[in-house]
């Protein structure tokens, strides 16, 4: 038994973190937040060099053939840097969806393009993911109609991978004349949302899944675990910054970290946050290797890490005093990232509700 990252995983994590540190200084983040479409082509190309788009693509299609655990570790690094990158949808959920749902011919066609970063998929759910906005589509023969609001990782998507309410997946090109989109700024300025209308758009059905609904949920679970990893990374950045600030800032002739009021708040943060790392690893490992626990741990990881991170975001902002509330420090970028991740692909309440259904704890399943 070995519940730790391997040397390779740690080395990959280090190189990703180094890369992000160089590429995403605060000024660059601010600039990207202002451009509002949330796509940084140079960052995308850098990720291709690092092999990130192919992380979950099987080796025979040119990918690294790794698992959700590797994706979750990468997500933590991305959340740490507040990287505006369509990672969750394009690089984690999409390759998994093709692996689970696509025919051999469809895999041959799409997976190498995903691994090479030549296509960028946004993954959209018409229901299942617990959205509060409009989310309904009809797949009729070879065309898709309907509307899904608030799709993440879609600002520079070349294609949509749409899961219907029945779990059936289909692929639609973003420049199909039957697709119309409007980009909306979100609370997280580095990550806008897309409202997508399909009006008889040409759709290629992925129909190799034996149980489409189960496959759609497996992809959703992986997405939730990856988001939990991202949230963990964002919360860790906020905590690290608050601890550093508390060692420097002087009030009443003392550094504020020596006051128990501040010290205890930060101790509370680390006490709640550190077990979240084990939880993200465990839930991610479950997606790869423990099928009986996969759904339950994904729901709980998304819910629990989101809840802990909300407290950490609040307390670490407070620890910065008035400066924490300003735009100047940029701390709010991570605060909002945590808020974004919390609501997307199912809120904590929704995820816990699904966990209850899984265990037969509800009256109406």
């Amino acid at each position: 038994m070995d519940f730790a990252l391997t040397l390779e995983q740690r080395q990959f994590d280090d190189s990703l973190r180094d890369f992000l540190k160089d590429r995403l200084p605060m000024e660059r983040l601010r600039m990207l937040a202002d451009t509002a479409n949330g796509f940084d082509e140079s960052l995308w190309n850098g990720m291709i060099e690092l092999g990130l788009p192919g992380l979950l693509v099987p080796e025979r299609f040119g990918g690294a053939g790794l698992g959700v655990l590797d994706a979750a570790v990468a997500a933590e690094a991305l959340g740490n840097a507040a990287a505006p990158l369509a990672f969750t949808g394009s690089m984690a959920m999409a390759p998994l969806a093709f692996t689970l749902c696509a025919s051999q011919a469809q895999q041959d066609e799409w997976l190498p393009q995903i691994a090479g970063g030549e296509v960028r998929f946004a993954v959209a759910y018409a229901g299942l993911a617990g959205q509060t906005g409009a989310a309904s589509v009809t797949l009729d023969g070879g065309t898709l109609s309907g509307r899904i609001e608030g799709v993440m990782d879609a600002s520079a998507a070349t294609h949509y991978l749409v899961f219907g309410r029945d779990g059936v997946a289909s692929v639609v090109s973003a420049d199909d004349p039957g697709v119309s989109t409007s980009l909306r700024r979100s609370i997280d300025r580095t990550r806008p949302l897309m409202d997508v209308s399909f009006n008889g758009a040409v759709a290629e059905r992925l129909d190799a899944a034996n149980d489409p609904l189960a496959a759609a949920r497996t992809v959703l679970d992986a997405g939730r675990v990856v988001l939990a990893g991202d949230t963990l990374g964002a919360a860790q950045t906020m905590l690290d910054r608050a601890v550093a600030f508390a060692k420097e800032r002087v009030q009443f002739g003392r550094v504020i970290g020596s006051f128990q009021g501040v010290k205890y708040m930060l101790a509370d943060c680390v006490t709640a946050l550190e077990p979240c790392r084990g939880m993200v690893w465990y839930a991610a490992y479950a997606q790869d290797a423990l099928p009986d626990e996969a759904r339950l741990t994904a729901c709980h990881a998304k819910a629990h890490v989101s809840d802990v991170a909300r407290d950490v975001a609040r307390m670490t902002t407070e620890a910065h005093g008035g400066m924490g509330f300003t735009d100047l420090l940029g701390l709010h970028i991570w605060f909002k990232r945590i808020g974004f991740n919390r609501q997307i692909l199912g809120t904590p309440e929704r995820c816990r509700e699904e966990a209850a259904q899984l265990q037969g704890w509800t009256l109406h399943v």
Binding site: M1, V243, Y264, L266, A267, T271, P275, W281, H300, T362
Partner: protein, 402 residues
């Protein structure tokens, strides 16, 4: 990452499952405790010792199985007994604190005299650490011992001494070098609870039971040789004990067991004919706790892996006591709430009796508050987490603080 057990551990697992299948019916009831072990428990302990499921790493000449320390083996043993709800052996302060301390710093004579009887459960120890004026500030102990004619003469008072009312022996932290500094003036003595001048008075707690005692010393005579390591080394010895505690991995098994009990409770108890687990307000609290317990278990797997690899876990380890006691309290709080008004009946019926479920949960619920205070209160834990874990500066010393 790989959560499967490697071959030797699988073999150990299979061996224990066999053992439990054959002998499991002789196991005393799990839980309870806080009383002198009865004959059934002593017989069971002996059987476990023979198989090396307790005292596993203690050298054979002192009554153990003499195996090489292996954190993963310890985890397999603990989890197999927990899984089968079979008694995993005595846990008391003699076994978990005094024995490892003596093995590290005791004389050969002390080891021979005390280790065997203690791990067999024949000799019960209590810990003479806290004092009325010095709870969190343990090193400030004022109970004093003076050497006179080959004996230490002990005077003073200890408090929060669990099991003193039935213990045979005490390990005592006392001041023998009044001229030395706070930390260098202490010594660690081993003494009989039957010593003349020693008076242990049960201290009734909010649970209605007497889990603790006050112990008064009036000219208590302790032979000079009953010192561990030497004069002025008491603080060092006490810290050896704490170092050994670090190897005991936080009790995720207990949290899991409690969560399972809670799920059963909420699946059984009803209000107006509706099961609590189907009522969103109760269910959401249960689900939140289930999430926390999953995180806690995963955290413990990390600690276990690091301990097995000899990695110092730092802040990850420091959060265990604070985080664990708080989670424990949230679990027992939901249980108490699930009983509602029907759980208000409270009959502790003395120390030895088995209480009903509601009373047992109520005792846990209150005892959990005690756990937040004992063994370094949660505020002390937060100081440790902040100062040693996050490297935040210490509170400036108050005037007169040493």
């Amino acid at each position: 990452m790989d959560l499967t057990l490697s071959e030797p551990y699988q073999a150990l697992q299979a061996e224990i499952r066999d053992f439990i299948r054959v002998h499991g019916d002789k196991s005393p009831k799990v839980g309870g405790g806080r009383k002198r072990p009865d004959q059934k428990t002593l017989d069971w302990q002996k059987r476990l010792l023979e198989h090396g499921y307790v005292g596993r790493t203690i050298p054979t000449e002192y009554g153990g199985a003499g195996k090489h320390p292996d954190v993963m083996e310890a985890a397999v043993i603990a989890s197999e007994f927990a899984r089968a709800s079979v008694y995993a052996g005595l846990t008391n302060q003699g076994i978990s604190m005094l024995v490892p301390t003596l093995l590290e710093v005791g004389t050969d004579e002390q080891k021979r005299e005390y280790v065997g009887p203690t791990i067999r459960g024949d000799m019960i120890w209590c810990q003479g650490y806290s004092e009325p004026g010095n709870g969190s500030d343990l090193a400030n102990a004022q109970t004093k011992a003076e050497l006179r004619d080959g004996n230490w003469i002990v005077n003073g008072q200890k408090i929060w001494t669990s099991s003193a009312h039935y213990a045979d022996m005490m390990f005592l932290l006392c001041r023998t070098e009044p001229q030395a500094s706070k930390h260098e003036g202490l010594s660690y003595l081993l003494l009989s609870m039957k010593s003349e001048g020693l008076d242990a008075r049960p201290l009734k707690t909010m649970t209605g039971r007497s889990e603790f005692n006050e112990v008064f010393f009036t000219d208590v005579k302790v032979p000079e040789t009953q010192i561990v390591l030497g004069r002025g080394k008491g603080w060092y010895v006490a810290n050896v004990t704490l170092k050994h505690e670090r190897l005991m991995i936080g009790d995720a098994g207990k949290m899991t067991a409690r969560l399972e009990q809670l799920i059963k409770l909420l699946s059984t108890n009803e209000v107006d004919g509706v099961k609590l687990i189907q009522m969103p307000e109760y269910r959401d609290r249960l689900l939140r706790l289930q999430g926390e317990v999953i995180a806690w278990k995963a955290h413990n797997l990390r600690l276990l892996t690091e301990a097995a690899q000899g990695i110092e876990s730092g802040v990850k380890r420091m959060i265990v006591k604070y985080g664990g006691t708080m989670l424990g309290f949230r679990l027992s709080s939901l249980a108490v709430d699930a009983f509602g008004d029907a759980g208000l009946t409270y009959e502790t019926l003395g120390e030895d009796s088995e209480a009903d479920d509601a009373t047992t949960w109520n005792i846990d619920y209150m005892y959990d508050v005690g756990l937040m205070i004992g063994g370094g209160s949660n505020n002390i834990q937060k100081n440790i987490i902040g100062e040693r874990g996050l490297d935040l500066p210490r509170e400036p010393k108050a005037a007169g603080r040493v």
